[in-house]
């Protein structure tokens, strides 16, 4: 068992507007939430210019939200979220025979789908709320068809999900030019290219089309610099993957962009039905004209767990 790992995450967002913005309201999902395997040791948020009002709350899905408004004219906006997160490594998995494949121990996907269907008996809203269509995730026969190559009859749910993840990784090209935040997931399926967000949405569409429950996870991934080169500041990016509900196992994460089970390098920010529930920064501005956006994310491993005694700190300034 690996010991606790510490990461320092800096997420900077800079907007420059060609015309002054007279009114700006922003909603942030930039505070890592605590989970069974993750603890946010400290979190600081810097906003410039100084907000006229600000509030921190927990949204209906349990994520930490910061909301602020700037009511004086301004021509730039700078938001810097800085967190220290402790991770307890989770077990990974593989489909190699004989490698102690715990995925194979999961119930068949048909059984799970049947359990989740409505029978007029007590249910868990926390699970079923991730079972249906959502603004960015359609369901339909085409998604079910695509998934059917991985979801073979009687196959354990988690093994099937693993196969689906691998298939998306194998058959889809990572291409930042191919899509935007508003590209429909059906188009992603047709064009076979996209970015992490698209692959997550696609996998969700497939799973939900089979009557399964799965959620979108927003977060960060520690990227490894090429051997011999230093870690570049700001070279990382926001990341997204999915989490599948499996009875007895709970929520199990799958990262279709990298075809891996998150173990100790994925930092979770928030989860929702899809991107629209948890976009790191969503805002409405009045004015602004043309704008230039720069986002820089840096995830740095901290070598020792020196801050273990500090406890959780949330600062908002």
């Amino acid at each position: 068992m690996l010991s606790t790992l510490l990461y320092h995450v800096v997420h900077e967002t800079r907007y420059a507007y060609s015309v002054p913005v007279s009114l700006s309201r922003q909603l942030l999902h930039l505070t890592p939430r605590d989970t069974l395997w993750q603890n946010c040791r400290s979190h600081r948020l810097f906003v410039e210019p100084l907000p006229t009002c600000q509030r921190e709350r927990i949204d209906a899905l349990g994520n930490l939200v910061n909301e602020f408004a700037i009511e004086a004219p301004h021509q730039f906006l700078h938001v810097r979220a800085e967190s220290v997160v402790a991770l307890i490594p989770r077990s990974g998995g593989s489909l190699q025979p004989g490698s102690g494949d715990w995925l194979a121990a999961s119930p068949s996907w048909e059984d799970v789908s049947r359990t989740l269907a409505y029978h007029g008996t007590p249910a868990q809203p926390e699970v079923s709320c991730f079972q249906f269509e959502s603004p960015a995730v359609e369901v339909g026969r085409d998604f079910a068809d695509f998934a059917s190559h991985s979801f073979l009859p009687g196959r354990p749910l988690l093994q099937s999900a693993y196969a689906l993840m691998q298939r998306i990784f194998d058959e889809f090209d990572f291409d930042p030019e191919a899509t935007t935040v508003s590209t429909p997931v059906r188009e992603v399926l047709q064009r076979r290219r996209g970015v992490c967000q698209d692959f997550a949405h696609l996998m969700l569409a497939c799973l939900r089309s089979l009557g399964l429950s799965a959620r979108y996870v927003s977060g960060y991934l520690l990227t490894q610099p090429p051997p011999g080169e230093p870690r570049l500041i700001g070279a990382d990016a926001s990341h997204a993957w999915v989490s599948v509900f499996c009875p007895k196992f709970g929520w199990v994460d799958f990262d279709p962009t990298n075809s891996m089970l998150p173990t100790h390098e994925h930092v979770t920010l928030a989860w929702g039905r899809d991107f629209t529930d948890v976009s790191p920064m969503r805002g409405v501005i009045l004015g602004g004209g043309e704008q230039q956006l720069d986002v820089a994310v840096t995830v740095t491993p901290l070598t020792t767990d020196s801050s273990g005694e500090e406890g959780t700190e949330h600062a908002f300034q």
Partner: protein
């Protein structure tokens, strides 16, 4: 007696008839009314029909139909004969509707709160979480008093055995209560004696109760609550009703852009600054309420509204998210929910319906398709109902395939057989005709529980349709509930108006209304200016025939400089010039075309329509009709000339109306300021161009300049000779008694701006004063006919430069007014962004 009247009225075998029983005898509650009808003479009935028609027109009751190609208001269709219900029967209906309102409110509280029903398996999660109407951001919000549902409407129908059934629930922003009120006001005047003698229960107290309750629950502390009615705007099909209700409840009618959230508080933008809003009665759909937390593509909503609600700073009625439970798929689960949430049995049954997401229901639906109506499970799907009986074998097979592909998306409902009631088939004397009717009944939350409006909106099905819908533009009726305890007063709105309630000036006149009036003034003037200029060129072109006239060349050159005609205007061949002129009039794609300005004029006018009389509106609508009629058809020059004349006529009628008939408030002030600013810009630009134009030194140019400045008659009256430059400039630049002179605009603007000067700061007015002084000090001597050409040339350029300054002062003033007073109606600047 009733014999003759009823002899042609067919009894129904398969429907309940509201007026007569199975034996053909008039029901007791209808007897008195039918007897009166039967004894009326044909003339009397015609007179009553006239009253009805006139009152609909006078009140301007209208309904917009989205698909109407003209996008125009259609007069409201109202049948004069009311649906009559006895007091005992009504008590049962009212109790059942009130219970249902309580149930649905409790259901909303549960769904947006602890979700007990979901946990206990009494509701399928698909109907909540799979429904785009379930708004996550609203989960956990507890509204003031725990009331989600302030105004509720139930669509009822009566089955052949006489029992009432619920067909549909309206929980988001129920429409039609205002039409019910309008119907009552009209029908009670068509049959005043019957209305009085039958002791019909009054509707007035219902609206009073609704409003008092909003005030009661509005989070306002010690302040007097400001309640506004939020409308999506004039394009909405029930805009008339919004305006009508706002007027009757005395609430400011606002659009999203009239409101702003600062911090966690909602404010109304008025001319005198921001005023806090405590409660919003909304007619805006759920997901359009807040682009920050809900639909990001909405241009209508109010960013931050959900947070203001969450923070308990404003009451929104109905609570955001209440549209969810309109889903017909839920109705099968309501009896169980009623037992679980209220511990009661549901009093009124709902039309049997089956949500196909349950396997048994899906199988049932597929087996009995021909007896069912298939609807989308979620209203947002906007699926037209499919009647199984209408499908042939192939159609049924296709439908079954669609059902099986996505069973959760579908609901099957038993076919509803509406009851029938007599309608007036009045063309040839009085004849009664049975028509299917459905009743929409309203309930309002009060601190003492739900109260039900005694009456409602009776909707009449077309002779062949099985669907009653207002969106399809059906006929409606008043509904008379008998047994009023007192003699109901005809007047319904608020009680007596005391001295303290007098409203003299629009204190809550929104900045948007003011801005629209300002632009209405500017567009009216812009249309006037363009029409005058184009008419000048066009009439000269017609006179010239194939010849080239110097005056025509210079006038066309000026049009080009002002952006109305393409380059080379004056040198074009006659046919080309004519085509270019027609394009400048009719082709909206051209940026400065007259047609576009007329459209913009109507658009800004539509926003403040309640301030214009029907006559003026009609004149404007005719211009619009002229334009749409001209699409693609060949137009000749003389038709175009006649059209320009009509534009100028309508424009002067509007100007006269503003002078004569508008209340002297800030709205009118801005309308006139708009007109003056536009005319000042036009005159200054046109004159400056004229002075610089080489071609304008030709013979006949001064004459058309005077025509464009609408000053030719004054000139001729004064000088009676061929126009010369010096007196012409005196008349259209300096003469402050000429309403078309530059100095007149400056003086008038200074006067109208004076009361605003304190807030606007002096600079705006100062610049105008400097311009005015500069012009007045001008020496016109060098423009005399006998001056040396060099001197005239220099003087022309100097005056042109001075006029440029005037034009830029006008432009700057407009910017300042916009920045200080307006909400930026046309602002496309709002953006929703995610990163």
């Amino acid at each position: 007696m009733p014999r003759t009247l009823l002899s042609n009225y067919p009894a129904s075998n398969n429907r309940f008839d509201e007026m007569i029983d199975a034996a053909g005898t008039v029901r007791p509650d209808w007897r008195a009314f039918v007897e009166r009808l039967a004894t009326a003479t044909p003339e009397e009935m015609r007179r009553r029909a006239d009253i009805l028609r006139r009152r609909i027109q006078e009140n301007g009751v209208a309904y917009n139909v989205y698909s109407d190609p003209q996008g125009a208001d259609r007069p409201w269709e109202l049948d004069p004969l009311p649906l009559i219900l006895g007091a005992d029967e009504w008590r049962g209906i009212a109790a059942a509707v009130s219970q249902r309102a309580r149930l649905l409110n409790a259901l909303l509280a549960d769904i947006y709160g602890e979700q007990r029903l979901l946990r206990e398996g009494r509701l399928p999660p698909a109907l909540i979480y799979g429904h785009s109407g379930f708004l996550w951001p609203c989960h956990g919000i507890v509204p003031p008093g725990g009331v989600h549902l302030h105004l509720y409407a139930a669509d009822l129908a009566r089955s052949p055995d006489g029992t009432w059934w619920v067909v549909a629930d309206r929980t988001q922003a129920p429409s039609g209560a205002g039409y019910a009120l309008a119907n009552r006001q009209i029908v009670s005047r068509v049959f005043p004696e019957a209305f009085r003698d039958l002791k019909v229960q009054s509707l007035g107290t219902f609206f009073r109760a609704l409003q008092d309750s909003l005030a009661h629950w509005a989070p306002c502390g010690d302040e007097t609550p400001l309640i506004v009615l939020l409308t999506p705007g004039p394009a909405n099909e029930t805009y008339f009703e919004h305006a009508w209700l706002a007027r009757h409840l005395g609430l400011p009618l606002v659009e999203g852009q009239d409101l702003t959230v600062r911090g966690e508080t909602v404010y109304l933008r008025t001319l005198s600054g921001l005023r806090r809003v405590h409660a919003i009665l909304r007619r805006q759909d759920d997901d359009y309420c807040d682009p920050l937390e809900l639909r990001g593509d909405s241009a209508l909503g109010l960013p931050g509204l959900v947070q203001a609600v969450r923070a308990g700073r404003v009451l929104v009625a109905n609570a955001i998210g209440s549209g969810l439970i309109e889903s017909g798929a839920l109705s099968g689960f309501l009896p169980g929910a009623c037992r679980a949430l209220l511990g009661e049995t549901l009093q009124m049954p709902a039309v049997a319906s089956w949500w196909c997401g349950e396997p048994a229901a899906l199988e049932f639906t597929c087996s009995y398709l021909e007896r069912l109506v298939i609807k989308g499970a979620f209203p947002a799907q906007r699926i037209e109902p499919v009647f199984g009986a209408d499908l042939d074998a192939a159609g049924r097979a296709a439908m079954i395939e669609r059902l099986r592909a996505q069973p959760q998306q579908w609901t099957a409902q038993e076919l509803v057989e509406f009851s029938q009631a007599p309608a007036w088939a009045g063309a040839a004397g009085l004849r009664l005709q049975p028509r299917g009717v459905g009743l929409r009944v309203y309930a309002a939350a009060t601190p003492n529980g739900y109260v039900v409006m005694p009456g409602g909106l009776t909707r009449v099905a077309g002779s062949n349709t099985r669907v009653v819908s207002m969106q399809r533009g059906g006929l409606s009726k008043d509904c008379w509930v008998l047994g009023g305890s007192t003699n109901a007063a005809l007047s319904l709105a608020k009680g007596d108006i005391g001295v303290g309630d007098l409203v003299r000036s629009g204190r809550n006149l929104s900045s948007r209304a003011v801005e629209n009036l300002y632009w209405f003034g500017r567009y009216a003037e812009r249309c006037d200016d363009s029409a005058r200029l184009l008419r000048t060129v066009l009439s000269r072109l017609i006179e010239a025939g194939a010849d080239t006239q110097p005056a025509l060349v210079s006038a066309a050159d000026l049009c080009h400089q002002l952006g109305l005609l393409p380059a080379g205007g004056g040198t074009l061949k006659a046919a080309e010039l004519q085509n270019a002129l027609l394009a400048a009039i009719y082709e909206e794609q051209q940026s400065r075309a007259l047609a576009g300005d007329i459209r913009r004029l109507l658009r800004s006018g539509a926003q403040v329509r309640e301030r214009f009389s029907g006559d003026h509106w009609h004149a404007l609508n005719r211009l619009q009709a002229d334009l749409s009629g001209s699409g693609g058809a060949h137009i000749d020059a003389s038709e175009a000339l006649a059209f320009l004349d009509r534009v100028l006529l309508a424009s002067s009628a509007l100007a006269g109306f503003a002078m004569d008939s508008m209340t002297r408030d800030d709205g009118r002030r801005f309308l006139i300021i708009g007109r003056r600013i536009e005319r000042l810009m036009f005159l200054a630009n046109a004159l400056a161009c004229f002075l610089r134009l080489e071609s304008a030194r030709s013979e006949g140019s001064i004459e058309w300049l005077l025509e464009v400045g609408d000053s030719i008659i004054t000139y001729r009256a004064r000088y009676m000779n061929i126009p010369e430059l010096l007196p012409a400039l005196d008349l259209i630049v300096l003469d402050d008694s000429n309403p078309h002179a530059v100095c007149f605009q400056l003086k008038s603007l200074i006067r109208y701006l004076q009361p605003l000067a304190g807030e606007l700061g002096e600079p705006g007015v100062d610049a105008l004063r400097r311009d005015l002084d500069g012009l007045l000090a001008l020496d016109l001597a060098p423009f005399a006919a006998d001056s040396p050409p060099g001197l005239v040339g220099a003087a022309r350029l100097a005056l042109a430069a001075r006029l440029d300054t005037v034009a830029s002062s006008a432009y700057w003033l407009s910017e300042q007014l916009a920045m200080r007073y307006f909400t930026h109606v046309g602002d496309v600047g709002r953006q929703t962004l995610a990163a």
